[in-house]
């Protein structure tokens, strides 16, 4: 069955490769500086390397699709995202795969009545504007700098050719490596918990885990997409929107890389914070949108003539359409999967204002008398519970938010057998000690588990939200999520009395 589910992930990977290769090699191929075959080969090799060597981080392997809590649901979300990206690729438009995945998840949320994280929606819409503007600005600056440099330095036309070509190959290879490393989790990440753990040695030398095997499958899928179907989008990026010269094509790739590095790089931000420097704000960025922004930036820096606004309008329309299509396909597809093929597409997350939840929200200032009518009642999902809260007179939006967070039922059992299997490198000795002292306990709410951990060790506590504490809190959140995924008892959320 896992193999069947994996087909949609492979399809998503293929679509991703076909669409995103243009971000790394589109301008190189369209300006004829690198042959398509060369570009596809380098891209495919480095995508697979990135996927296998850097794609499998311990805690982040679930990817965005980790929010979907049943493999049937993940299958449909991946298929929906893959289909929407495939369609856009077929018409030659560069779009964001992660936005398609988020669109698919929103379709799943709507279908299952789960809550949708509004911030992810805001992030998508802001990315459409912020990312191209940043990339366009950087590209225009790089263009002006390059032009000034070339005006003051005599570079033979053939040497310039060789330099630009080498630049395309090196940056394309780096970009392809990052493409594999950053995106493979979105493609196959949700299957990691479903494959049997274990590792082997490749050629008797290199350790190779089963998760890495899965990432290899994802990487190969992306590589196949690059090799078989990526030329069309490449031409749109490098030629149809605005005819780029080889030098400006390289500037586009550099500007895109700079945007991803400056505005999406947590290591860079961490480095700045630890050196008491003002951090660059992390904004959601997409390489596809950065590339288009960079092309337009250069076109404007060259006077704004010859931009094909019709193509630009089609591209930006595709950005908006992609998550919408993925959401709609996901929603209706899930309906079919569940009702026609009787597949499990989600594990219901019920809500109940249990006694501890009641006490918690009341201590947080939610009026007790308003909630009493709902206390003890079981709601099938977030949508029903939210509707009931909204129908309750006298509850402010903040009260609704606090109650929703406190009443979500998720069962956790701290099974000593699972403690043994934890990745100890991720946790500090005191954190592990705290988990061990909670052995054989169980919890019905996520916040209960978190509170229990804090009681055992202050190393499980969040620090006040200041700039300096940002890294600590972010890492702690990652560890907590890892722990919650490890001890969650699926299908047993409905246990409390």
């Amino acid at each position: 069955m896992i193999l069947f589910y994996l087909t949609s992930a492979v399809f998503l990977g293929w679509s991703l490769g076909a669409n995103h290769a243009a971000n790394e090699f589109g301008t190189a191929v369209a300006t004829r500086m690198v042959k398509f075959r060369t570009a596809a080969t380098i891209c495919a090799v480095f995508v697979v390397l990135g996927a296998v060597l850097s794609g499998a981080g311990t805690s982040a392997t679930l990817g965005t699709l980790g929010a979907v809590n049943a493999l049937g649901g993940s299958f449909m979300v991946a298929l929906a995202a893959g289909l929407s990206v495939f369609w856009m690729t077929k018409v030659g438009l560069p779009v964001s795969v992660s936005q398609a995945v988020v669109g698919g998840i929103i379709g799943w949320n709507l279908f299952t009545g789960s809550q949708t994280d509004v911030s992810s929606l805001i992030a998508i819409v802001s990315t459409w504007i912020v990312c191209p503007v940043l990339a366009g600005g950087i590209a225009a600056l790089l263009f002006a700098g390059t032009r000034r440099y070339l005006a003051g330095h005599e570079v033979h036309i053939l040497e310039r050719d060789v330099t630009v070509r080498a630049g395309f190959l090196v940056m394309g290879a780096f970009g392809a490596y990052a493409l594999g490393a950053n995106n493979v989790a979105n493609v196959v990440g949700m299957f990691v918990p479903a494959v049997p753990a274990g590792s082997t040695r490749l050629f008797g030398l290199v350790p190779f885990s089963s998760a890495q095997g899965l990432f290899l499958v994802g990487g190969v899928a992306i590589a196949l997409g690059v090799a078989t179907y990526s030329r069309r989008v490449m031409m749109t990026v490098g030629k149809e929107l605005f005819k780029l010269s080889p030098v400006t094509g390289l500037i586009v790739v550099a500007a895109q890389a700079a945007v991803l590095f400056l505005f999406a790089s947590e290591p860079l931000r961490d480095w700045l914070v630890t050196h008491n420097l003002p951090p660059i704000p992390l904004v959601p960025v997409s390489s596809s949108q950065a590339v288009i922004g960079a092309v337009v930036g250069i076109a404007l820096a060259k006077g704004g003539r010859n931009i094909r606004y019709g193509v630009l309008a089609r591209i930006t329309g595709a950005w908006a359409a992609t998550p919408l299509i993925a959401g709609a396909v996901s929603f209706f597809g899930l309906f079919f999967l569940q009702n026609v093929f009787t597949l499990t597409v989600s594990r219901p997350i019920p809500y109940e204002i249990t006694r501890p939840a009641f006490e918690r929200v009341v201590s947080q200032g939610v009026p007790a008398d308003k909630l009493e009518a709902l206390a003890g009642a079981r709601f099938r999902n977030a949508r029903e519970f939210k509707a009931a809260l909204r129908d309750t007179p006298g509850l402010a939006p903040a009260d609704v938010r606090l109650t929703l967070a406190a009443a979500e039922l998720r069962r956790y059992e701290i099974d000593p057998a699972k403690i043994v299997r934890l990745d100890l490198e991720l946790l500090t000795p005191r954190q592990i000690e705290a988990i061990r002292s909670l052995a054989w306990t169980s919890y019905d709410h996520t916040w209960q588990l978190r509170d229990a951990l804090v009681r055992e060790s202050s190393q499980w506590a969040f620090l006040p939200e200041t700039r300096r504490n940002y890294i600590h809190n972010r890492d702690l959140e990652t560890r907590l999520r890892y722990l919650e995924a490890a001890f969650r008892v699926n299908g047993a959320e409905a246990s409390p009395e």
């Binding site: 042959k35 053939l158 080498a166 010269s245 080889p246 400006t248």
Partner: protein, 214 residues
């Protein structure tokens, strides 16, 4: 990095050698015309032979450069322009070679009062060729001076036209036989073609230089 540029440098040197030939042909052309007009026929034949040899070697170099540019898909965005410039530069060399060959075969008798005009005409053609070569070098090296050289080529071509017109008027106003007038007039045209050819290449060069800007 040195390895990266090794092959490129070899190709660059071939292009440079080809341009050296073009420049040398221009200079030899002028000296050969002077020799002919001064009656130094042995010297003239020796220079003519030298021009023929340079033309042959230049052809080989040009073909090799063109083959390499195509085979290794170098400078895809400017390849057409570069090939056009190199091929039309060959026209300058060919014109010089053919003019000297016809002088050698037809041996026109040029009246002494006209020799100065012929020398000036050949000199302006030679200057136009020299400026053209410098312009092409500047184009390859990305120097911003291409338009200056293009302008100078145009200047010498116009000067050559003026001399050519004056010479033809003088020839046809003289008491010479019509057949001789026609013969001498034809050589004025042939020698003047050198600067015309140079100007044609420089026009291409001007457009290519604009296209070469990033």
């Amino acid at each position: 990095m040195a390895h990266l540029f090794a092959k490129t440098r070899l190709l660059e040197s071939k292009i440079d050698e080809y341009l050296d030939h073009t420049s040398e042909v221009g200079l030899l052309f002028l000296e050969a015309i002077k020799d002919y007009l001064n009656g130094n026929h042995e010297e003239f034949e020796s220079r003519r032979q030298h021009v023929t040899d340079l033309e042959r070697h230049g052809d080989e170099l040009r073909r090799e450069v063109e083959r390499q540019l195509y085979a290794e898909t170098l400078i895809p965005e400017s390849r057409g322009d570069v090939l056009g410039i190199l091929e039309h530069t060959d026209g300058v060399i060919n014109t010089a070679k053919m003019t000297l060959m016809r002088l050698s075969v037809e041996r026109p008798e040029i009246p002494s009062n006209l020799t100065r005009g012929y020398v000036e005409l050949a000199d302006y053609g030679c200057r136009a060729a020299q400026e053209l070569v410098m312009g092409i070098r500047a184009f390859f090296r990305g120097a911003p001076l291409v338009t200056d050289f293009v302008h100078k080529v145009g200047f010498w071509e116009k000067e050559a036209d003026k001399i050519a017109e004056r010479l033809r008027r003088d020839i046809f106003a003289s008491d010479l036989d019509l057949s001789r007038k026609m013969h001498l007039g034809d050589f004025v045209m042939r020698i003047g073609t050198l600067s015309d050819e140079a100007e044609e290449v420089s026009d291409r060069l001007a457009i290519s230089a604009i296209k070469r800007s990033i």
